[in-house]
Amino acid sequence: MFKQAVIDLLQGAFICEQTNPAAFKWLKEPVNHAEVDDYLARLNRRLIKTNNGFAYYCAWESIGQGERNEVRKTFTEIKHTIAPVVLFLQLCMNHSKQDVSPAAGDRFNYAGLLTTITENPSVLEELRRLSTLGKEFVSTDASPKGMLDRVVKQMMLWGYLTEHNKNQASYSFTGKLDYFYEVLTFLAEDERSIQTADDEQDVPVQGRLT
């Protein structure tokens, strides 16, 4: 298991219960964690566990000039993903009709969301807005299914969704989502405007359409 876990980590994978349950379970053992960490240290890397322990990934041990350039690239990529992923998660949250944000291991209700999108022009509009957030989301098929498929495909490429069964369109959120929330928490803690954005949202008034 050591070999597979290390190779996956070096290749940039997030190891979690959903994507690689055997390696994830193995890394949870403190002895194995230490063994991998020691090995990665020789390559100027270290093993990191997300705040809630839902995923493992490989980070730089020390940051020199070369690593600093890589960090800049990583940050640019992260910045690029924030808006579309937030919008996608909000879409899922609104669809579930519960005030519960998706978490690692939760099932992504593809069929249910597609039905909601098809039946509700406002939700379809949200999906359309998502497709304006990057060329990755532009679909040649302008139907709700075509647009949703494009978004789902991109979320899989970014590692936030994993597919169980292609024929049944069955997906789950991965442990990488824990990492994403960690990023959002960090950024929100620094910016007062984000913390207060929820409080400032328009409160619906009876008799007034919102």
Partner: protein
């Protein structure tokens, strides 16, 4: 009308629509259908139900809270869940049994033996049932309740319960019941078989459930905070579409999440010197289209040694002495403006074509004149004389080869 008419009216309405209320409680909401529409409307007027989305109704918070309280209380009173009392009962029965034994009250002793066996059986059964029940609820993440606050409440209740049972079993493990049963063979056997042998499993399972419930509690509490965070972020991005975070990558101290190491592109080649890979490699090779017709000879290479691959023999054209002489002569003559005599050249270089006579040499140069394509940069002039008696023929005495464009 009595002063209780209002309460009675509500209770009557609740009774008449108990199925609807139960459905709304268990499913989270209830759909308005033709047969239920009237009852739902009545319950809504009585502030028992409240409209939800998509033509559905849900229980008002106060009603849901009331039912949760009542059901939790009932659960506490369910038979078999009060393990503490059962343990005390067993302890007491063992004392009574030993007293009866010491005092020679055989009938009482037999009666207590029977009751002790039943009690041990009850305890083991109750714990197993409880473990199964909690495990199912934990696996389903308390799917029977739909809202987050209810899930948290359920989680907290079962966490407390699990830890109480765990503490009880740990105390029981250290109690002296086993010592006090020593000497009473049937009771010892029943105790060991039904309870003691399972105690390890019970403790491990309960600890694992407790750990999971703690994780859930943490996760459930996080969910609420996370949903708020997500909403805040979405609103923020909505209001500020061009928002960009600070340049965190330029900070001297970086948070972990930004220091993700750049992925390495790795490609491995199989070790062909290792016999371990032979089977896999031969299978891959035999499936290649290029090797479809290939029949394995069975000849094996010795491990660690390469087999010299024989090169395909290349037939090199070897020129004869005469051919070399011809080529050399023509090459030299082609540079000469005044020309070279074939016979003179032969006389000087006869060692190059010692196999041929002078006459043969001249014939050969003559044939070259006829065979070589015109325009190759040389020309051959015959030094000849007519033969009178043989009309039309000439005797070639020599050939002068010189630089030229066309053969003459």
């Amino acid at each position: 009308m009595s002063k209780h008419s209002g309460v009675s009216q509500i209770l009557k309405a609740l009774h008449e629509s108990s199925d609807i209320i139960a459905d709304a409680f268990e499913r989270g909401s209830i759909e308005v259908t033709e047969d239920k529409a009237k009852s739902i409307m009545k319950l809504s007027q009585l502030r028992i139900l409240t409209p939800d989305i998509h033509n559905t109704y849900q229980l008002r918070h106060s009603m849901r809270k009331f039912l949760n309280t009542v059901l939790n209380t009932s659960r506490l009173m369910e038979a078999g869940t009060d393990l503490g009392r059962t343990f005390s009962r067993l302890d007491e029965l063992v004392t009574r049994h030993n007293n009866a034994f010491m005092e020679g009250r055989e009938d009482d002793k037999n009666l207590y033996e029977e009751e002790i066996r039943e009690s041990i059986n009850d305890i083991a059964g109750d714990i197993e049932d409880e473990l199964l029940r909690i495990s199912r609820l934990v696996e389903g993440k308390f799917a029977t309740v739909t809202t987050l606050p209810e899930k948290v409440k359920e989680n907290e209740w079962y966490l407390k319960r699990t830890e109480t049972i765990l503490a009880l079993l740990e105390t029981f493990s250290f109690s002296d019941i086993e010592d006090r049963l020593r000497g009473h063979r049937d009771l010892e056997l029943a105790f060991n078989l039904l309870l003691k042998s399972k105690m390890g499993y019970f403790l491990v399972t309960l600890k694992s459930i407790s750990e999971k419930l703690r994780e859930f509690l943490y996760a459930f509490r996080n969910i609420e905070a996370r949903a708020k965070l997500l909403r805040s972020f979405a609103n923020h991005l909505n209001k500020n579409p061009a928002w960009q975070p600070k340049e965190w990558d330029e900070q001297p101290s970086l948070p972990d999440w930004i220091t993700i190491a750049a992925p390495l592109n790795m490609m491995a080649n199989p070790n062909i010197n290792s016999s371990e890979n032979e089977e896999v490699l031969s299978e891959i090779a035999s499936n290649l289209p290029e090797f479809k017709e290939f029949v394995y000879s069975g000849k094996k290479r010795e491990a660690g040694k390469l087999i010299a691959i024989e090169e395909t023999p290349v037939q090199k054209k070897e020129l004869s002495g005469l051919q070399i002489a011809v080529e050399t002569f023509i090459a030299s003559a082609a540079q000469s403006e005044s020309g070279l005599s074939a016979r003179e050249w032969w006389a000087v270089n006869r060692n190059m074509n010692d196999m041929s006579s002078e006459e043969y040499w001249v014939r050969r140069i003559l044939s070259e004149r006829q065979n070589r394509k015109p325009g190759t940069g040389w020309q051959a002039d015959l030094v000849s004389a007519p033969v009178s008696e043989l009309d039309g023929n000439v005797i070639v005495r020599d050939i002068i080869v010189s630089k030229g464009l066309l053969n003459v």
